[in-house]
């Protein structure tokens, strides 16, 4: 059931405090209060300060709009935009709102056009979002129409700044957002460039689902190696992420807001796990065996120590690379209790048909029906339900306490801590005084 249609509602107003009541517990590093995930006021401020703040928001892959006139609908935060390639091959991003009376004029998912025409009164916009034509602008027989001082230039759509890197398109509302690479920080750029090396991408398809959880939980999930080795039988049994293999959870050094969780799969299909560790992992099973082991074939196509890397780029992008299945996921925040996830799966233009099929087969790991993806979606839903319905209102992040940011061990919440330290700052959230 979609969140907006939930038959059973939130338990009571304590879960939805106004901003002034949102004070972080004194032991801020080790605790997260529920209202971070359930307050409408917090959400509203996130839209202003984060999604419309000094951030680069993922909006599209260039391969989706390869030719002049190609466009697609998209989102920056929760705001509908259009992403278009103009005749000069540059890419523009502007709000999907007519400057006249406000109509969301671009209705098709994607397509190719010479201009955008608002259906209501047919004002037309060029491929950069500038107002181009106002029908009967001078009236009929000089009666009616726009005043002489009306300038099309004053009535374009709201246009965003755009940056691209190796085929990935970002947009920002702010004039102060630093250049993309600076924003990303060096290590993130390096890992980003592994799948996005400039090689031409081939789009394999889309998927969209609603997750009835707060959008930040998705970030946390990918800064949380602890869950990976416990929740996901497939990661564990097939040695994709188990104690003993080489792995990292990385937080960017500037702010701790971007990050990645990467691992290096050994060559064996089935993992060898120490008995001690097995005992801790209920999802481990010696019985889980595949009949079609092509699924686990790993074609080493990149120069990277990591066979898998899940990267989060603040505030709305996940770059997924798990063996040979790749995709980007965009987080669309949707009120405190919901988010929408848009998935774009891709390979490369020079993939052989068999390589494409290999990627598609491995794609069964991911997405809302994926061997891993299903489990994360379900778990995040359980969390939001737990928060919404309980009388208690605190969450504990004490694993690997005292550390923040990058960790090389799996049993750590250090990157979640660094994320929220940054978050408190950008959101201007006060921390309670320690009791004397």
């Amino acid at each position: 059931m979609y969140q907006s249609q939930a038959v059973i509602g939130i338990t009571n107003a304590r879960k939805n405090p106004p901003l002034e009541q949102c004070v972080w517990p004194a032991d801020a590093m080790n605790n997260i209060p529920d209202w971070v995930y359930t307050s409408q006021a917090i959400y509203d401020q996130e839209i202003e300060r984060i999604f419309r703040g000094d951030t680069w928001n993922f909006v599209a892959l260039e391969a989706e709009i390869p030719n002049p006139g190609d466009y697609k609908r998209g989102y920056v935060g929760a705001t509908a935009v259009v992403i278009v390639r103009a005749e000069d091959h540059t890419i523009s991003v502007f709000e999907n709102r007519c400057a006249h009376r406000g109509a969301e004029f671009c209705r098709a998912s994607q397509g190719n056009t010479k201009e955008f025409v608002c259906p209501y009164h047919q004002w037309s916009y060029d491929l950069k979002g500038n107002l181009q034509g106002v029908p009967f602008k001078r009236g009929i027989n000089k009666v009616g129409g726009m005043p002489a001082d009306f300038k099309n230039a004053d009535h374009g759509t709201r246009q965003l700044r755009v940056a691209t890197r190796n085929g990935v398109v970002f947009a920002t509302y702010s004039d102060k957002t630093p250049p993309l690479e600076e924003y990303m920080t060096q290590e993130i750029v390096e890992e980003f460039d592994v799948p996005f090396s400039g090689k031409k991408l081939k789009i394999l398809g889309y998927c969209r689902n609603e997750l009835p959880c707060n959008w930040k939980m998705y970030h946390e999930n990918l800064k949380d190696p602890y869950h990976a080795t416990l929740l996901h039988s497939f990661l564990v049994v097939f040695g994709l992420l188990v104690p003993g293999i080489k792995s990292i959870v990385f937080a960017d050094k500037a702010h701790g807001r971007h990050g990645f969780m990467a691992s290096a799969k050994p060559d064996e299909i089935y993992a060898t796990v120490a008995d001690d560790d097995k005992a801790q992992m209920r999802s481990f099973s010696d019985n889980l065996r595949l009949r079609d082991e092509r699924f686990l074939d790993y074609v080493r196509e990149f120069k990277s120590p990591w066979s898998a890397n899940m990267m989060t780029m603040w505030p709305n992008l996940i770059v997924q690379r798990q063996m040979n299945t790749m995709g980007v996921r965009q987080i669309i925040p949707n009120g405190p209790n919901s988010m929408v996830m848009q998935w774009t799966m891709f390979g490369y233009e020079d993939d052989t048909p068999e390589m494409t099929r290999h990627r598609l087969r491995q794609g069964n790991l991911m997405g809302p029906a994926g061997f891993l993806g299903l489990e994360d979606n379900e778990a995040l839903k359980f969390v939001q339900e737990g928060l919404r319905n309980s009388s208690t209102d605190n969450n504990v992040v004490k694993l690997d306490a005292g550390h923040q940011g990058t960790a090389r061990n799996l049993i750590s919440e250090s990157c979640i801590r660094s994320l929220y330290q940054y978050y408190r700052d950008v959101m201007d959230i006060r921390v309670a005084e320690k009791a004397a």
């Binding site: 059931m1 789009i203 997750l211 009835p212 999802s283 079609d292 598609l360 087969r361 299903l374």
Partner: protein, 171 residues
């Protein structure tokens, strides 16, 4: 796939279509009854050795995108999926219910029959209402094996462009 979504007249006589529809409906009821009983381990029984199975959105199909929410090449992958769902995946319990419209028989060539059947898949979570989880069309190719039909290919093309949370069971 895109061309298979365009309307094309059937090439089959009405009488033969009715016979085949009856056969296909007999297949459908068993397939759906097994899934609706959450008996996912029987699901592979309805496929031929070389079968392919895919669940994807109509949008993907119209764009000729090959991706699948579930994407299986061959019976072994289908069995691997069934076993994972039945034994190793974590998800909340739920009731599923397939309600099918009328089967449209498109073609019969030798042993092979192709058809389309609209479906509504209802999902009911614990303590919950019954909601439309997916609505779409089965695009099927059957092969005859003795008395039985088996799926050589099932493309589950769902109209639903935003999925509620997750898809736990095959469709």
């Amino acid at each position: 796939m895109k061309d298979r979504l365009a309307y094309a007249k059937t090439t089959i006589s009405p009488r033969r279509a009715a016979e085949l529809r009856a056969e296909i409906e007999s297949f459908h009821v068993e397939y759906c009854a097994a899934l609706d009983a959450n008996d996912v381990e029987r699901w592979p029984d309805f496929f031929s050795q070389e079968a392919t199975y895919r669940v994807t959105s109509r949008q993907n199909a119209l764009l000729n995108m090959p991706v699948g929410l579930i994407y299986c090449e061959g019976l072994d992958m289908i069995i691997d999926r069934a076993l994972a769902v039945a034994h190793s995946q974590m998800f909340a319990p739920r009731h599923m219910l397939h309600v099918l419209g009328i089967a449209r028989v498109l073609q019969e060539t030798g042993n092979t029959i192709s058809s389309q059947t609209p479906f509504i898949l209802m999902q009911t979570l614990v303590e919950g209402p019954s909601t439309v989880h997916l609505a779409g069309v089965y695009h099927d190719r059957f092969v005859r094996e003795g008395e039985r039909l088996l799926l050589a290919s099932r493309e589950v093309i769902h109209d639903t462009e935003i999925l509620d949370t997750a898809l736990a069971y095959p469709v």
